[in-house]
């Protein structure tokens, strides 16, 4: 789409667009270019010079046991976070949609966790499951279950998944609720008159009508669990135990800043860049489709 009426001149628009272009160039394009460039080199241990290795860093990464494990961890983590945040949100939204009065109050209460930063959410959940003072781990202990996410990788994964999914329930709830409110009442009523019960209507009418929203949320939640959950993992497990919660973004951080392995960290950035690119394309393809609805 283009404007029919425009202003003349090129000095003024150049001036207007300059701040954004300069900031993007300095803080985006230059660093992104650097990441790609550095991914082709291996610096020597003293950081004095670096050796060109072509795609060596990538070859090494793709055969590296730990990197492959991190890929798998990320996949498991993002699938679990997406499911654990979308299913409860859909459930709550369906219930809230049945209410005529009071849904506003519930909505206000339910959007709270969205405002809580992932890192703060991490601290809250860590407090509940802390092996020494945690309330939930204490009650679990009384029931005969010995909770210890510091040693047990599966429990650590469970905890970071729940802590990451928690705030997202609010977000998904808002989108599902808005979509449910937009389902035409006449369709539901017609089905009800034909004798379709609540669950039949839900599976055959409501859920299909929600599919654009569901797909959108799937992509957004996967992107979220890839990148924005860093705070949760850093506060709760710091990637451990034995790297069982080291997702890809966490590995870029720990290899680049803690391990000072710049070549490998940059190569990992480039691989993530490709992953984000693919996800973005999927998202935009989907938005294009939506326009025709």
């Amino acid at each position: 789409m283009e404007k029919r009426v425009t202003f003349r001149g090129w000095m003024l628009p150049a001036l207007l667009i300059a701040p954004q272009v300069i900031i993007s160039a300095v803080f985006f394009f230059y660093p992104a270019g650097q990441a790609i460039w550095q991914s082709l080199f291996i610096p020597d241990p003293f950081g004095l010079s670096s050796q060109f290795v072509g795609l060596g860093n990538f070859e090494f990464l793709l055969t590296d046991r730990f990197y492959r494990a991190s890929f798998l961890t990320t996949a498991v983590f993002s699938i679990l976070v997406t499911l654990c945040s979308m299913i409860p949100a859909l459930f709550l939204a369906v219930i809230a949609d049945r209410l005529i009065k009071g849904s506003g109050v519930y909505r206000t209460l339910l959007i709270w966790p969205y405002a809580v930063a992932p890192a703060v959410a991490g601290v809250l959940w860590l407090f509940m499951f802390n092996t020494r003072v945690g309330v939930v781990s204490w009650y679990l202990g009384n029931l005969g279950y010995d909770w210890n996410h510091v040693l047990n990788g599966g429990e650590a994964m469970g905890l970071v998944v729940v802590a990451s999914a928690w705030g997202r329930i609010s977000y998904n709830f808002l989108f599902f609720f808005a979509a449910l409110q937009a389902v035409p009442r006449s369709v539901i009523e017609a089905a009800a008159i034909d004798g379709a019960r609540f669950w039949t209507r839900f599976w055959t009418i409501v859920l299909p009508l929600l599919s654009p929203t569901t797909f959108f949320l799937l992509v957004v939640n996967v992107v979220y669990s890839f990148f924005e959950t860093f705070g949760v993992i850093h506060t709760i497990t710091a990637g451990g135990p034995q790297q069982s919660t080291t997702i890809l973004v966490y590995k870029v951080f720990s290899d680049g800043f803690v391990g000072q392995d710049l070549g490998s960290s940059s190569a990992q950035s480039v691989i993530l860049l490709i992953v984000v690119g693919l996800l973005t394309i999927i998202q935009f393809k989907f938005i294009e489709k939506r326009v025709h609805y």
Binding site: F7, Q20, F91, L109, A117, G231
Partner: protein
């Protein structure tokens, strides 16, 4: 609405209340922990009802903290969040105006340049961005906290979409009346974008406030810590016992500003969310 029977309605409310309680439990527990004494927490199980140490714990957090008073971190977070929100809105309004209302050489190239920045969150390019910021001597400074995070195009896109819906007649009338482009921008475009600006402000404020990784990397000086990343720094290293009441009071303080913004501006927030994501 179909099927509104008494029992069903009650059951619906019961489910809803249960859901809210479960979702709220972690926040409630943090609040309780911020109002009791340390011994009450370290001897589990801790109480589930608030104690009487509210003022003691919150004033300890706000005015002495662990490494640095929490009030300092709150101010840092506030500056960062507002800086990111305002900065992003200003540069995006200007560049979207240029892209929509002018034909100039290289317009499409710039458009695609901005478009590309949508694709790469700061988490992915941390090492080189850190080097750039260090090179400018912007470590431990507000500008270092703010600038790298406003290099993204979401807001530009939103404003571009919105400007395209402004009727052409308005620009035409302005031109006939001899108004300069900037006059048109200030007197017509900006006032018309008010709701969008407000909605975007809410979203960007939360985004800035909740940043974790970036402040963690570039603020080595505790005086510059933001509250969200500062909480983690309050945990002792090694086997010492954490000062839970103060840490939990800090957690509650860290969530109050964004919660006020989200709940207080709920309508704008939901609108901003739907606009900026779709």
């Amino acid at each position: 609405m179909v099927e509104k029977r008494g029992a069903g309605l009650w059951l619906t409310h019961v489910f809803m209340i249960l859901g809210v309680l479960v979702i709220f439990f972690p926040i409630w527990l943090a609040f309780v922990a911020s109002t009791v004494t340390q011994p009450e927490i370290v001897r589990p199980p801790m109480p589930l009802w608030p104690g009487d140490q509210f003022w003691e714990n919150y004033s300890a957090a706000l005015f002495s903290g662990v490494n640095v008073p929490v009030s300092t971190m709150l101010i840092n977070s506030l500056v960062m969040a507002i800086g990111i929100a305002v900065g992003k809105i200003v540069i995006s309004l200007l560049s979207a105006f240029a892209i929509v209302y002018f034909r100039f050489p290289g317009r499409n190239i710039f458009f695609w340049m901005i478009f590309l920045t949508l694709m790469l969150p700061v988490e992915v390019r941390i090492v080189p961005t850190y080097e750039v910021v260090a090179g400018f001597g912007m470590l431990n400074s507000y500008s270092g906290l703010i600038f790298p995070l406003i290099a993204s195009a979401t807001a530009t896109f939103l404003f571009r979409q919105f400007f395209l819906t402004i009727p052409d007649e308005l620009a035409e009338a302005a031109r006939v009346d001899g108004a300069s482009p900037m006059r048109f921008f200030w007197d017509i475009v900006v006032p018309m974008s008010r709701t969008n600006v407000a909605a975007l402000f809410v979203i960007l404020f939360i985004y800035g406030w909740n940043q974790y990784l970036w402040p963690l990397l570039i603020t080595t000086d505790p005086e510059m810590n933001t509250i969200v990343m500062g909480i983690k720094q309050m945990f002792p290293s090694g086997d010492d016992v954490a000062d839970w009441p103060v840490i939990m009071a800090t957690s509650i303080l860290a969530m109050i500003p964004p919660v006020i913004v989200v709940v207080g501006m709920q309508r704008l927030f939901i609108r901003g969310l739907v606009d900026s994501e779709k």
